[in-house]
Point group: C2
Chain length 147, copies 2
DNA sequence: CGGCTAATGCTACAATGTTGCATTAGCCAA
DNA sequence: TTGGCTAATGCAACATTGTAGCATTAGCCG
């Protein structure tokens, strides 16, 4: 029988065929616990806070691996830095919102640009990235309260 | 009367209030002559081909300046590199197509994501980036011819 | 032409991501 | 449980893309 002390993250990692390591578990759990997408610095800081030292390169490779396995997805912000969030990307082809005020990137799972547009003849898209820029709900509230 | 040996690019640069320099004219003309967006390497190579040696930093600053003046616009590709094309961005808020085969980024002026979507309550977007990924028309033709 | 200063060129630096390779540790089979 | 194979890690060095400071050049205007 499956031991009950193994986290869901560990199960996902094992199921994908890779080795279940401390780093992979910790990183995937950090992503799963976050409502917004995180960049490398965010994740490294969280690992440090959890008392888990680690190497920059290992974190890059771990995140790439999680994306390859469909356990995380990636979005590139206007600061040219990659941000990650738990969950595959092919399953959830959704839009993102970049807040110019707080810098956070949020997933808009309800918006899917897929079959919304007709491209010129000859173009064969296999995915679409839609990113909105502006003020997020939280920052909008704060601004309203302040005024 | 205006001398006829001054290029349209030079006129645009003069009209924006900046100094009309060799570099600005050459870069803007390169952008105007290209049907697709160009990255720094593309532009530097073209400058070299035209016998115009140039400094990396000056090219960065020149392109930033052209964007500020509304004479060019920028899009960030999945390779995290900026690509530039002549023409302002606020006037033409259009989608782009990144070809995974040839790597080119093309403007789809006919597609404007503006008022197509309804965001969740509280979100206030002021612009939207829509980028398709797949096979462009040229590459699709080549593949068809080859088969 | 002469002078003011925007623009350039150069160097050094910053941020983000990659490669090579020796070492460690997860997994499996005996 | 142990031993061995090799995936994963850690470290150092490097690559790419973009910035900052500052001395020099050159566009513009009188
Ligand atoms: Mn997302
Ligand atoms: Mn464009
Ligand atoms: Zn915000
Ligand atoms: Zn193509």
């Amino acid at each position: 029988m499956p031991s009950p002390d193994v986290s869901p993250a560990a199960h996902l990692i094992a199921a994908s065929g890779g080795r279940v390591t401390r780093t992979r578990i910790a990183v995937l759990e950090i992503l799963q616990d976050s409502p917004r997408s995180l960049n490398h610095d965010d994740i490294a800081a969280q690992l440090a806070a959890d008392g888990m030292p680690h190497d920059r390169v290992t974190l890059y490779r771990t995140l790439d691996w999680l994306v390859e396995q469909g356990l995380a997805h990636r979005v590139i912000g206007p600061d040219r830095a990659r941000r990650f969030k738990a969950g595959g990307e092919t399953r959830s082809q959704h839009a993102h919102f970049h807040c110019d005020r707080c810098g956070h990137v949020l997933c808009l799972e309800s918006i899917r640009p897929e079959e919304q547009f007709t491209l010129p003849a000859g173009f064969e898209p296999d995915r679409a990235e839609l990113v909105f820029h502006g003020t997020c709900a939280d920052c909008g509230r704060q601004r309203g309260a302040k005024a």
